[in-house]
C-alpha cells in the first residue's frame, strides 16, 4: 500500500491519514460508496458526530467500520474487498441490480475511487493494470457517473515514481470527466474546467515539490494550506 519515498522528498501521507482527509468532507447524512483498494480505508475514518451511510455495491447500505477482531465478525456482512464490517441500526441489504439502480439513479452523494491515472479533464483510468491481459471495471464506471461527486484517492505516483496525475490519461478510461476532487499522499486537489487546482499540501511539501512529481500542470492559488484532518 505504501510508496517508498525518494530519499530527498518529505514523508508522504499514510493511507490512514489520506482516508481522514477524504472523509472529513463527508457531510452529515451523506450516502457514500467506497471503492476497492485505498478508499476502503475510509470505512474506519468516519468523522465523529456525523451520520454517514456507507454503501457497498454488492448490496449493503448503512454499515459501520471494518471489524478488527475477526472471530467476532458476521462473515455474511462484508463490504466490497470482502472485509467484515459492523452492522449498524438502519442497515439495509439489497440485490446487485437495486444497488446499481441506486448508484446510476444518482441517489449517492459521494463515491471514493482508487486511480491509476487522473487527468486535467477529470478523466479517470483505474481499470487496466500493466501487464494484465484484460481489465477490471468492477463498479467504478457506474459509481463515477452516478455519484453526485467522485473523489479519487490514490498515491501520487506509481511505485517506480511515474506520475499518475497527468495531462491526458494514456490508460483505458474507466469513466470520462467524472473526478472533481483528488486526494493523494502529497496533497488535495480540485479538478474543474480542465484544470487541476492544488488546495492543500502534505506537511513538509511545497507546491513546487508537488508539481515536480506531477505530469499535469497544476494551478497553484495563493491560499494553499497544509492538509487538514478535520
Amino acid at each position: 500500500m505504501s510508496v517508498p519515498s525518494n530519499r530527498n522528498e518529505p514523508e508522504r501521507l499514510h493511507p490512514t491519514v489520506m482516508a481522514m482527509v477524504v472523509a472529513r468532507d463527508f457531510e452529515d447524512g451523506f450516502v457514500v460508496n467506497l471503492g476497492v483498494g485505498l478508499p476502503l480505508e475510509c470505512a474506519n475514518a468516519m468523522p465523529p458526530g456525523r451520520e454517514i451511510l456507507l454503501h457497498s455495491e454488492l448490496g449493503l447500505l448503512g454499515f459501520g467500520p471494518v471489524i478488527g477482531d475477526h472471530t467476532k465478525a458476521d462473515p455474511y456482512v462484508t463490504m466490497v474487498g470482502n472485509l467484515p464490517v459492523e452492522a449498524l441500526p438502519g442497515m439495509v441489504f439489497l440485490s446487485h441490480d437495486e444497488s446499481f439502480a441506486m448508484i446510476r439513479g444518482k441517489h449517492l452523494d459521494v463515491c471514493v475511487l482508487g486511480g491509476l491515472q487522473v487527468d486535467v479533464e477529470g478523466n479517470l483510468a483505474n481499470t487496466q493494470f500493466e501487464g494484465k491481459p484484460a481489465g477490471n471495471l468492477g463498479g467504478a464506471p457506474d459509481l463515477a457517473y452516478g455519484a453526485k461527486q467522485t473523489v479519487v484517492m490514490m498515491h501520487h505516483t506509481t511505485t517506480d515514481g511515474t506520475p499518475k496525475v497527468v495531462t491526458r490519461c494514456t490508460l483505458p478510461l474507466t469513466a470520462p470527466r467524472c473526478v472533481s476532487r483528488l486526494v493523494t499522499d502529497v496533497g488535495v486537489f480540485d479538478i474543474r474546467g480542465g484544470q487541476i487546482i492544488l488546495r492543500e499540501c502534505a506537511p513538509g511539501w511545497t507546491p513546487e515539490q508537488i508539481q515536480g512529481i506531477t505530469e499535469a500542470r497544476l494551478v497553484i492559488p495563493n491560499d494553499i494550506r497544509e492538509v487538514r484532518l478535520m
Binding site: 462484508t78 446487485h96 501487464g131 484484460a134 477490471n136 464506471p141
Partner: protein, 234 residues
C-alpha cells in the same frame, strides 16, 4: 451453453455446491456470466484472509474452477483478472494463452442486463459507458444531452445461485447482501438455487420473501457436511 454464476466473491454467498456440480459433470464450452472470474482452488483462501481457519468453508468453489478444468469458452465479467501481479488466477492464465474469450463491462451494466433478461426488456440505454472502451461497437444516443449506450438483455440457459432458505414453491430468502444471487434468479431458462435449508410452506412470510418461487425452477440443499473435494463422487 450460457450460465449465470451468482454471488459476489465471498465463500458465504457463492453457489459452491453447484459450481462443484458443474465441474463433476464436466460440461465444456461454457459461457460464464459472473461478476468476477474467481480465484480458483489454489488461491481461494486469499479471498478472505481475515477469516479464522475454522470458519473458512472447506467446500468453497468459484467459477475459476471451470477455467482450471478447461470448461470455459468465454467469460462475461467485471473482474477478469486479479489486481495483484503475484497472484495469477486460472481465468487469467487461460486469457493469456488465448484459450478463452472475455467481455469486460461495468458491474451496473452487467447487473442491469441480467435484470433486463428477468424482466423481459430487450435492451436499455444507460449513461454509463460512453467515452470508454465498453461503448465500442455499441449504439450511443443522447437523451437530454447526455450520451447513453445501448445494452442488451443477458439471458442464460442456467442461473446457479445461492440463498439461505427456500420453501416448497422455491420462494427464497437470502442472508446478508443479496448480490447477483437475487439479480440472476429468473434471468435464465432454469434457475437453480443452492440453499442451507428448505422450510415448510408458510414459514417464509409474504412481505419477507426476496425471490418469488416463480423465478426458481430447482432447489438443492447444501450437504450438512461440506464436500471439500469436487472430484469426490456424490
Amino acid at each position: 451453453m450460457t450460465v449465470h454464476f451468482g454471488g459476489f466473491a465471498s465463500p458465504f454467498n457463492t453457489p459452491s455446491y453447484l459450481v462443484a456440480a458443474v465441474a463433476r459433470r464436466g460440461v465444456k464450452g461454457l459461457t460464464a456470466i459472473s461478476t468476477s472470474m474467481g480465484r480458483g482452488v489454489k488461491h481461494r483462501d486469499s479471498q478472505s484472509p481475515w477469516l479464522p481457519p475454522e470458519l473458512r468453508p472447506q467446500d468453497f468453489f468459484d467459477v475459476a474452477l471451470m477455467a482450471e478444468l478447461g470448461q470455459l469458452k468465454k467469460g462475461i465479467t467485471t473482474f477478469a483478472v486479479g489486481a495483484r501481479h503475484d497472484l495469477i488466477y486460472p481465468f487469467e492464465e487461460r486469457l493469456a494463452d488465448g484459450s478463452v474469450e472475455v467481455e469486460v463491462l461495468g458491474q451496473g451494466s452487467l447487473a442491469e442486463r441480467i435484470r433486463a433478461a428477468r424482466a423481459g426488456i430487450a435492451a436499455f440505454y444507460t449513461p454509463v459507458g460512453p467515452g470508454t472502451d465498453v461503448a465500442k461497437g455499441k449504439e450511443v444516443r443522447d437523451f437530454d444531452g447526455i450520451p447513453h449506450v445501448l445494452e442488451t438483455a443477458l439471458h442464460a440457459d442456467f442461473a446457479l445461485i445461492r440463498a439461505w432458505k427456500a420453501d416448497r414453491y422455491g420462494n427464497l430468502i437470502y442472508r446478508g447482501p443479496r448480490t447477483f444471487n437475487e439479480t440472476m434468479a429468473g434471468a435464465a431458462r432454469i434457475t437453480i438455487a443452492e440453499v442451507d435449508e428448505v422450510v415448510p410452506l408458510g414459514d417464509l412470510k409474504p412481505d419477507q420473501i426476496h425471490t418469488a418461487g416463480v423465478y426458481v425452477q430447482r432447489v438443492v440443499v447444501r450437504p450438512s457436511t461440506p464436500v471439500s473435494d469436487w472430484t469426490t463422487p456424490l
